[in-house]
């Protein structure tokens, strides 16, 4: 009697828990696909809300228009000044940030002692955790007056001020991804090079850096993606003049800054709103491509050392 009841329990339990197992599996798999779903939804919602702009203004007119006057009687919706603004700020930030960040990554990965490495890494992590609006405010208090004085400008609110602050904001991204890539280079390569009589620096730039180059490049690209997409700090520091810039000392208006500044004041369902959604779609497409290429590069790099 006792025997049969245990047998029944033994048979009974696996059946029900196997059913639960299958259900849980389905539920979890559904959640696993959520990232694809959200990315697709972002694209669709931006595209859907851009419809009116695409029909009434046209994508070519927007992408090649040199004037951005969204609120005058016959509004002009040209994206060029905004794209140029984003470009100037991003490229200037990259020029300042990339050499220093890569050098710092080389030091942390190749030369620093373990303790120095850990401390500098956690300090750089703090830098990445500071919200962009705080960078914007500190930039207003520190960088804008400095730029104004050093370059004798009438206003420090300029592409340069935003770029300086952005350079610091993207440094943690570039440093940590480049450092990861350098760190992933197998030690045998270093030892082989040292055994041939190379110094550590010769080993670094002849062996380690070339081996890690694609990972370092991916870090730079992700930093660039972050810079193009950065909103608050740029909105607070560029001065937001929507004109084609002639130098880094000009006030510029970026794609992100335009969306952030204008979306709050548009008529619901109006043309201006639709144009701003379309501008968001342009931004999404640009960063999507940059991120995708960077990810593919990183994936390739990872496969290289996986054996």
């Amino acid at each position: 009697m006792a025997r049969s009841s245990t047998t029944r329990r033994r048979i009974g339990r696996p059946v029900s828990s196997r059913a639960a197992d299958g259900a849980v599996r389905k539920l979890i798999t559904a959640n696993g696909l959520v990232a694809i779903l959200i990315l697709a939804a972002i694209f669709l919602f931006l595209a859907f809300n851009s419809q009116r702009a695409l029909q009434e203004v046209g994508i070519l007119t927007m992408l090649t228009g040199r004037e951005w006057y969204p609120t005058i009687g016959v509004p002009r919706f040209g994206f060029l000044p905004l794209m140029a603004g984003s470009m100037v700020v991003t490229l200037t930030a990259l020029v300042m940030s990339v050499p220093v960040s890569i050098a710092a990554a080389v030091f942390v990965s190749e030369f620093a002692t373990r303790r120095v490495k850990e401390i500098s890494k956690s300090i750089i992590e703090f830098m990445a955790a500071v919200p962009s609006v705080v960078y914007g405010f500190v930039g207003l208090a520190v960088v804008v007056p400095w730029v104004k004085e050093v370059f004798q400008l009438s206003s420090g609110l300029s592409a340069l001020s935003a770029a300086v602050v952005l350079a610091f904001m993207i440094a943690p991204t570039i440093v940590s991804i480049a450092e990861d890539a350098l760190h992933a280079v197998p030690n045998e390569l270093r030892q082989g090079s040292l055994a041939l009589g190379n110094t550590r620096w010769q080993t670094t730039y002849k062996v380690v850096l070339p081996s890690a180059s694609s990972g370092v490049l991916a870090g730079v690209m992700l930093g660039m993606g972050r810079a193009i997409g950065e909103t608050m700090a740029v909105l607070m520091l560029t001065g937001n003049a929507a004109i084609l810039p002639s130098s880094v000392f000009d006030s510029v208006r970026t794609i992100t800054g335009t969306i952030a500044a204008e979306m709050g004041n548009v008529v619901q369902g109006g043309l201006h709103q639709s144009v701003l959604f379309n501008l968001g779609l342009v931004l999404f497409t640009i960063t999507f491509i940059i991120n995708l290429v960077a990810d593919l590069v990183l994936e390739k790099q990872r496969k290289r050392w996986r054996r």
Binding site: P14, D21, T29, A35, V133, V134, F168, N198, M232, G280
Partner: protein, 286 residues
């Protein structure tokens, strides 16, 4: 020969000094940032500042409703993004097979992490505020922030699960436990510290985001505390933005104080989480 060696050594010293200076420069910038926020922020922070609403066109008083608003947004973000993100992490680590779908899922997750926060704001405006009709609210803002936080939580969960040796799983399966039972009773408890820490880091990033809540959740000024998920709220990062750029004649220390509260909140929670994880790690050895 000897000159070549000497030259190589000189180049090595120069390289070490230069790269070291670069690293020191970035570290110094980070420390300067920390110092200026703490030193200029501290005079503005007091018990009253933390517990009183703003007064006199926001030029006096405290930031109590602002803190409450940020907490409410963060709470909803966590409530939505944790279950979904952890489930997705479990899928990637425990169920997904090596194949094309998994590869695309991974690409989608890392791509999501790079989508500009203002684009999430537009998405939230289109879907949650307009289509679903939540209006500017904690609900719409929290859902938007949850989308933004998901990739971090998924990645953290997956990494934490991967650290668990497969011996544990096999031992559990060999005892007759089903896959889910093994995950639920053996793998998840062992990975919990890593998952919790990673999730807190992800959520702390959401706390500081301004652009996603700009059109989906925030109010310029609202004295009353939120009464439901459909209330709009004040929030710390947005408060810093408007105080810094749109409120003329305000004392600087209010803005610095708000910035300090935000940065301290974000970093102290992260540091505590990281410390807790390393404590747990020391306790468990495989």
């Amino acid at each position: 020969m000897r000159t070549r060696i000497r030259r190589a050594k000189a180049a090595q010293t120069a390289a070490m000094v230069l790269t070291g200076l670069a690293a020191a420069f970035i570290v110094a910038a980070a420390l300067y940032l920390l110092a200026i926020i703490v030193m200029r922020g501290l005079p503005g922070v007091s018990w009253e500042f933390l517990t009183q609403p703003p007064r006199g066109q926001m030029k006096e008083g405290g930031i109590f409703p602002v803190i409450v608003g940020t907490l409410a947004l963060t709470g909803l973000t966590a409530a939505v993004s944790l279950p979904v993100g952890i489930a997705a992490g479990i899928y990637l680590s425990e169920y997904a097979t090596r194949g094309r779908v998994t590869r695309i899922v991974r690409l989608a997750i890392s791509n999501m992490a790079g989508v500009p926060s203002i684009v999430y704001g537009l998405f939230g405006l289109a879907l949650f505020v307009n289509l679903m009709g939540f209006g500017k609210s904690i609900l719409a803002g929290g859902l938007t922030l949850a989308c933004l936080t998901l990739p971090v939580i998924i990645t953290a969960t997956e990494e934490a699960l991967r650290q668990i040796p497969s011996d544990l799983r096999q031992a559990s399966l060999a005892l007759g436990a089903t896959r889910w039972r093994t995950i639920y009773r053996v793998v998840l408890p062992a990975a919990a510290p890593g998952i919790v820490t990673g999730s807190i880091l992800g959520l702390s990033r959401a706390v500081g985001e301004t652009a996603p809540i700009l059109f989906t959740a925030v109010a310029y000024y609202k004295r009353q505390l939120p009464t439901s998920l459909l209330s709009d709220v004040m929030a710390l990062p947005y408060h810093i933005y408007i105080m810094a750029t749109q409120v003329t004649g305000r004392p600087d220390e209010i803005v610095w104080g708000t910035a300090l509260v935000l940065v301290a909140g974000v970093t102290l929670v992260s540091v505590a989480a990281a410390g807790w994880r390393s404590l747990q790690r020391r306790k468990v050895r495989w």
